[in-house]
Amino acid sequence: MRVLTLLFLSILSFLAYSAQDEYEFANAERAATFKALTQELRCPKCQNQNIADSDAIVAKDLRDKVLVLVNEGKSKQEVIDYMIDRYGYFVHYQPPVTPATIVLWVLPVLIVIIGFGFIVFRQKKASKKQKWNAQDEEKLAQLIKQYQRQEHNS
């Protein structure tokens, strides 16, 4: 357990270290925007890394550009639009809702709805199948009586 804690702490400290940088900002809000952006923008060269993570030269250029734009007072969305304008939707980790990507939003909801629909449908069908008539009713009453009597006797 102690080893695990140690491991966890060392990973945590590494994360804290990597988040440290040499950039300077006018205020904390801009620093936060910059940090969020470098984590959300994707490196076009090392495709499964964000630009904060990647060592590719294009990632550095994008970081520098984000820094300049943020220090100019651009909002987060403005910077994202600036990058999408140049590098396409690919550069942002949050894909927009377009006809091509709508399936990403619709499909999970559809699967849940169809799944629940299926369960409800099956239960309704199963309950309909059981026929219940006077004879069954009589048998049931008899059984209840029988067990009640047994309980009395014991």
Binding site: P44, K45, Q47, A56, I57, V58, K60, D61, L62, K65, I84, D85, R86, Y87, G88, Y89, F90
Partner: protein, 190 residues
């Protein structure tokens, strides 16, 4: 009957998944839809690689269809495509180089000397072939960023009005030329 049909559904899902994943094996993740296609060339003022007193502007490039080839002597694939690009030049394709330098950046190179770079470029072009009308030096990679360039080699096809029609990431070889560039060039010449 109904039960049998239902039993097929997992099988169908399995087949669908197989097809989906199988075609994913052959997809090229480098083939990106970048943002600049269909837009006009971003405006810029950049020096010539060989002569800093000469400045190139986006407006200077207008008037003719051209390829803008992003390259650098540090990039082996760029060297490899010089031969074929030279062949294209001989066939009458106008090719302009955008020199993508990374040694200028202290994080990516130790020393930068423009004269050494010019020598290196000249030697390389003498040896491997020179496809370029001229080279634009983008020392800070500002035009590269405006164009959505992620590395080298990359090539843009720009029409006479300065509209970017194609953005190809990777080298240009006969196969790429036939499949991607030739049809558009054909359309432009008609």
């Amino acid at each position: 009957m109904n039960k049998k049909l239902l039993g097929f559904i997992p099988f169908l899902i399995f087949i669908f998944l197989c097809v989906f994943l199988y075609q994913g094996l052959f997809g090229n993740p480098r083939e990106l839809q970048t943002g600049r296609i269909g837009q006009t060339m971003p405006s810029f003022v950049l020096p010539d690689l060989m002569d800093e007193s000469k400045q190139w502007r986006d407006t200077d490039l207008k008037g003719d269809v051209y390829l803008l080839n992003v390259w650098g002597t540090w990039c082996p694939t760029c060297i490899a495509e010089l031969g074929y690009l030279t062949e294209l030049r001989e066939r009458g394709v106008r090719i302009i180089g955008l020199y993508y330098e990374q040694a200028y950046d202290p994080d990516f190179g130790d020393q930068f000397d423009i004269n050494a770079l010019r020598n290196e470029v000249q030697n390389m072009l003498d040896r491997a072939g020179n496809p370029y009308q001229f080279n634009i030096l983008d020392l800070h990679r500002t035009l590269a960023l405006d164009l959505g360039v992620s590395g080298a080699p990359e090539t843009f096809l720009v029409d006479a009005n300065g509209t970017i029609l194609l953005h190809h990431i990777g080298d240009i070889n006969p196969r790429v030329w036939r499949a991607k560039f030739a049809p558009v060039m054909q359309e432009l010449s008609e």
